[in-house]
Symmetry: C2
Subunit: 93 residues, 2 copies
C-alpha cells in the first residue's frame, strides 16, 4: 500500500480528531479516570486491531494510553493507518 506524503497525511489529520504526526507515525493520547478504564479501552482497540489485522503500538501509563500507527511493511503512514485511526476514534466515542 502506498505511503502517504506529508501533505496527504496533514490533510487526513484534519479529519482525525486528536491525532498528530510523531516521527514516521501518527499518534493520539487518550486519558481515562483510572487504569481499569484505560485497560477496557485497550481491550476494545485490541479486538478491532485483530479484526483489521492492523495493530497500533500501545503504551499504557496508568490512566493514559498512547496509540501510534505506522505501516511498518510499507515504511510509513498509509490509508490503513488512517482507517485504523478512524476506527479507534469511533471506539473512543
Amino acid at each position: 500500500m502506498a505511503v502517504l506524503t506529508d501533505v496527504e497525511i496533514q490533510k487526513e489529520l484534519t479529519s482525525l480528531n486528536g491525532w498528530q504526526r510523531n516521527g514516521s507515525a501518527i499518534q493520539r493520547v487518550f486519558r481515562f479516570p483510572d487504569f481499569k478504564a484505560a485497560m477496557q479501552f485497550v481491550n476494545k482497540i485490541a479486538e478491532a486491531a485483530e479484526q483489521a489485522n492492523h495493530h497500533p503500538d500501545i503504551d499504557i501509563r496508568y490512566n493514559t494510553v498512547t496509540m501510534a500507527l505506522v505501516s511498518h511493511d510499507s515504511g510509513g503512514v498509509t490509508q490503513r493507518d488512517v482507517r485504523m485511526a478512524g476506527t479507534i476514534n469511533k471506539i473512543a466515542g
Copy 2:
C-alpha cells in the same frame, strides 16, 4: 517507601530473571507468538497490578510487551517494584 541504591537494585536483579535497569526504572521485555497472546498476558498483569495497586508501564508492539517499574511517588525503584517484578515473572511462568 525507601528508594533502593544502585547496589541494592543490582542485588535484587540477580534473582529477577530477565529484568534489567533502564534509567530510573527496571524493565523486562516479553515476547509471544502473536498479538493475541501478548494481550492475554497484559490482561493478567493488569489484574495483578490492580490487586497490588502498583501499575507497571506497559508497551505493546504486536507480539512484544515491555513492562517497566518505578515508584514515581518515591522517585526511584523500591521494594514495591521488586515485589511486582516477581509477581509478573510468576505470571509469565
